[in-house]
Amino acid sequence: MIALLSLVLSAGFGQDQLPPVPPDLPSWIRAKGMDELYYKSAPYNWSINRIPKFARDMYATGVGHSMAYEALASGREAELETTTFERINRILKNPPRLPVEEMALSPTFVRKYGYLEKVFDWAHTLHFQTIDVLAYPGWSDSRKEQELEELWSFYQSEPYALTGLPMNMEYLDSFPYSKGFRQKYPKVNGLFWGYHWLQTVNYDMLYRVPTADQAPQYEVIGERYREVELYNETRDFMPMTAELSPRFAKRFPQLANAFDNLHMLHDNVNDILSQPGLTDLQREQQIQIAIYRVLDSTHRGESEDTLRPNSLHDHRHPPSMPGMGMMVGSDEDEMYMSGMGWMNMSECGHCSVPMPEEEPWGATVTADGWTMSVRCLMCARDMASETPGRAIIRAATEDPKKLLILVSDDEGNWTSNISKVVFLEKFGEHPDCSGWSRAFTNDSALKQYLVANPEYAGMPGLNLSAWSKLNQGKPDTYRRIDRPNPYKRGGNK
């Protein structure tokens, strides 16, 4: 069967096997010439450089994209896994200090597919400006959130904008050429998904985090990116924004969806460019169709309520996560996450009790390449303790404006961004854990809480060192979702 499929693919596709060109393809897609767009003018631009290692790694992703596309567009795909990979890898290990003009690195690609570069470039600008807003020290969190809404409107004002609606990822990855690139070029595909891991994991690193506490997190994230994620060939599917930055994706679903749709467009383009059976015309048409599928203009007037399952206009999302389309095998809030298996996004990743609807919102844990939402500090700590390697906890305190950021070393020794942080932990029933396991910015805040909640009266506050040494073991409420990996052959796709 595989041999037959290979034969069919290598022999080329009949036009009737490929998606047809839609009659309402926007005219700009066929227009020649460049359309250089630039950043929204703002004081926050280039704030990414406040986290120099992160900025350099991000600039290098652009170089990596361009070099791979130039090789594909100029008929050098045979070199992708060797010469091109090595060239890209050298850049990734010695990343540039400034952004590099991608068009200068991929002239053949831009000449052939300039319309695609317009879409990529505009979405990458959104990526970078979103980071700049969040990394800017001059504004409050609420002002930044307002600006992100304005930035989204600014982005949508151009015809090259991608839709912010959730798209069905299974559908978008289901065409005759789909999945070919990741199978044939696993090393370079690993790089692409590594870039997209970095481009999605960073938003929770920045969102509502005091700017002084952003760079320390990148010590953990950057190490993981450079040492593991760039060379990860075992991931089942591209990284999703809601998977790696769940708080940001929930607050700004339109941005999260646009980034995922962009990354899926990258996967589609990789598959099309590396598909040997296509003629130049077919390749061009299929890229135009792939762009069309995820353009904002294609879905204008539609909403999350548009219910056309498993189609181009399937905008369903998991009920608890508006910032993600439906995935392969996903069912309501359950989705398969590479590295974690099946998870329910409405539940705590550690104790399986539903996430709180009200404040405090709980915490997130970033470790071993994943980010999980949890109900309380105890769940966060114990989940990190079970996982080899360094970890980051981002957690609510009694002050909605003060996020607790804990960063651990390999041995689970934590450092805190709040010097006087004090913890309450009176182990009890897990469904109530967000009541008895909490963090406070200081002793007096804890005392106020104890007065308001007499059931915890007399409980001592724990300092960071004492709290770090606790481990309450396995939650008796944890429920593993025992389903096969839907991305593997024989899975419940």
Partner: protein
Amino acid sequence: MKFHNLFVVALCFSIASITSAHEGDCPYCKLKLVQNTPEQDNEVVLRFGNKKIEYRCIFCVFKDQKRYKGDLVVYAPSEKVGEPVILKRTEGKWTGPDGVVFLNSFKKHVDCAALSRAFSNSAAYDAYVKKNDLKDTKAFTLVEFIDFVVKPAK
């Protein structure tokens, strides 16, 4: 191992995987962790500072030990429920209680939790081998076991 014995062991693990709580994947072999049962402990726990990391079997722990730069304590399930064999790596040197021996006879990694185990003494090892009708096994000392596990694969 006779087929029916292997089947019983597999069934125990299978039932455990449905009923027990908080099953993750082994950091080394990526297979599901095998939970304790009333009759037999299976959870291998590695302590590294404040970390408490579960492995599927003692073989996986020794295979994965290089990632930890520091002292380790390993609680390896033994023949007695609730009484693990405690192994320590201090400044790179492994030590264990006197008389501890190891079984390592799995052909496929999926059988590792049943067939890569620690025993507090040779008699307990012999009893386990006899009970499960295992053939061609060897009782490894700690030094022999580490040497066997860390040697390069053929």
